[in-house]
């Protein structure tokens, strides 16, 4: 499906105390089924706003958003979000957090045993079977984020939305989780939209990178096709000329064209 997610002429204006703030101006983007698209840009470029629009957490000021030919009228479990700060409920175990999502999506049609099986499978997919009965405060930041990913994937969403999912993690944990994310998304075949500010992460994971201009009135500056063959290997890519050229393109956009005053 060529246009699994359609974003058409979307404008987003916030009414703040300081007056009207134009966050996004005339953004149009189509995402194919099974595609992995990253949005990259300097902070304040409205990339999270765009993701929240697809999630349905915001409604656009003007323009239309569609997911599999249906207008996005609000949030729903067909568009699962992995939030930057994991957003696990501290009073539920890892199992409980995932089960809440599984129960919501499949509770009407499946037996309790099936729901539990789905929950366990989702946690196994992110390698956390051993931590099922742990509470969020008992596990590391990387593990929490993996539970967040398991929760999102367990819903079998049409679209997986990742809002800087690894942004709060240290570099080593982050690289590990990038590799895992690549594997998990390939296994699940999910259509994915990820917001990031990490150039390597974007090039490594994406089929396309959407580069946003600086706000206010941010819009899509360039779209870069990442035609590196899959599966991708982090170490092999380090010396791959094509990888380096693509990476250079993104860096050029961010630091030569859209210079951000610090």
């Amino acid at each position: 499906m060529e246009k699994f997610v359609q974003i058409e002429n979307v404008h987003m204006v916030f009414d703040t105390r300081g007056g009207r703030y134009v966050a996004l101006q005339d953004v149009s983007l189509n995402i194919r089924q099974g595609e992995f698209v990253s949005i990259i840009g300097h902070s304040g470029c409205g990339k999270s706003t765009l993701l929240n629009l697809v999630a349905g957490l915001y409604a656009p000021t003007s323009g239309v958003l569609l997911a599999s030919d249906r207008e996005i009228a609000g949030p729903g479990p067909d568009r699962a979000v992995v939030f930057q700060n994991h957003s696990l409920l501290p009073w539920l175990t890892c199992f409980g957090n995932v089960y809440l999502a599984v129960e919501r999506v499949f509770g009407d049609t499946e037996s309790r045993a099936d729901l539990k099986r789905r929950t366990r499978e989702a946690l196994a997919l992110v390698g956390l079977s051993h931590a099922e009965q742990k509470y969020p405060h008992e596990i590391s930041g990387g593990m929490k984020q993996r539970v967040g990913i398991a929760r999102a994937l367990s819903m079998q969403p049409k679209v997986l939305l990742l809002d800087e999912p690894l942004g709060a993690l240290d570099a080593l944990t982050r690289a590990n989780l990038q590799d895992e994310l690549m594997r998990i998304v390939a296994t699940a075949g999910s259509t994915t939209l990820m917001v990031t500010h990490d150039v390597d992460e974007a090039v490594l994971l994406s089929d396309r990178i959407v580069m946003m201009t600086n706000g206010p009135a941010a819009t899509i500056g360039e779209i870069l096709e990442i035609d590196l063959p899959r599966p991708r290997d982090r170490l092999a890519l380090v010396q791959d000329a094509h990888y380096l050229r693509l990476r250079g393109e993104v860096l050029k956009f961010l630091y030569a064209r859209e210079v951000k005053a610090a």
Partner: protein, 298 residues
């Protein structure tokens, strides 16, 4: 008293170890040190902890009792010893029953607790749901704000005549006073808890499109619970504070009535005992709630 003994025994223990260690090094220098070192250091830590946490309160108590003794010597106030003797007598038979105006201290405590329990329980039944509603709906919040602002600072006892007039009886009037005075902390803390549920959790609920019941039971209620328990703790405190005054005015069996009755008998020892009993029961109530609240701190 025991604490003082402990800290005294500590320096005694230390030289013992040194004398033990001195002859040892030539024969077996490596093996013995760990166990003797681990032993006393743990004792030392325990003694230090005890010294830090138990000695100052003990000191405070001793100071308090001495001041009381000094004051009692220079006035007609019963001193600590006289009061203690009276307390032993009072507590030796706490559940005697010689008619409605002469019952044991145990009955008085239980009756007061029952009144507080009923009044506070009713207040919780009304106040906690009301708090959720006020926190949830901005309209209700603005609607109730002026009413609560005006009624909250009113002294609990000002409500007593209204209760007497409406219920025509002392017992429900006392419960009414407890109800109205312990209502506000629960309403306000629960409402404030609802408004402070982190946006992250609400976003999770929105993305999952949880049903209203799941939204309440899995997200709202657990998130608000710590705030609610703070309200419950404050409410119990207020309720217990008010019970003595309410019972003084309404009569019936209870600590407040007992205080007033002993005042009429000019039995000042018993009044002092009642003050301690009220204080200690209040402390226990608060600690019990704190214990529950600790369980729900995420």
């Amino acid at each position: 008293m025991t604490v003082v003994h402990m800290s005294k025994s500590k320096p005694k223990a230390e030289p013992e170890i040194i004398t033990e260690e001195e002859p040892l090094p030539p024969s077996a220098p490596v093996v013995p040190p760990p166990s003797p070192v681990a032993g006393p250091s743990r004792w030392k830590l325990a003694a230090q902890g005890l010294q830090r946490n138990a000695v100052p309160p003990m000191f405070g108590l001793v100071l308090f009792v001495s001041l009381w003794a000094i004051v009692s010597v220079s006035s007609e106030l019963p001193g600590p010893v006289k009061t203690f003797d009276a307390a032993v007598k009072v507590f030796s038979d706490p559940f005697y029953d010689q008619g409605p105006n002469d019952q044991g201290i145990g009955w008085n405590i239980l009756h007061s607790l029952a009144r507080v329990g009923v009044g506070f329980g009713l207040a919780a039944l009304v106040g906690i749901p009301l708090g959720f509603l006020i926190g949830y709906s901005g309209f209700l919040n603005r609607m109730m704000a002026p009413i609560i602002s005006v009624l909250r600072p009113v002294s609990p006892l000002a409500w007593l005549p209204i209760g007497l007039y409406v219920f025509k009886q002392a017992q429900p009037a006392a419960i009414w006073v407890i109800f109205i005075s312990s209502l506000w902390p629960m309403v306000l803390n629960t409402a404030s808890g609802v408004t402070q549920v982190p946006q992250d959790y609400l976003n999770v609920a929105r993305v999952l499109k949880l049903s209203p019941w799941k939204m309440f039971s899995r997200i709202l209620f657990p998130a608000v619970l710590p705030y609610m328990l703070t309200g419950v703790r404050l409410s119990i405190g207020v309720a217990w504070l008010v019970i003595v005054a309410a019972e003084m005015l309404t009569g019936g069996i209870g600590l407040g009535f007992w205080v007033w009755d002993e005042w009429n008998n000019l039995n000042v020892e018993h009044i002092i005992i009642a003050i301690f009993v009220v204080g200690i029961v209040g402390l226990l109530l608060e600690q019990a709630i704190l214990l529950v609240a600790r369980r729900f701190r995420y």
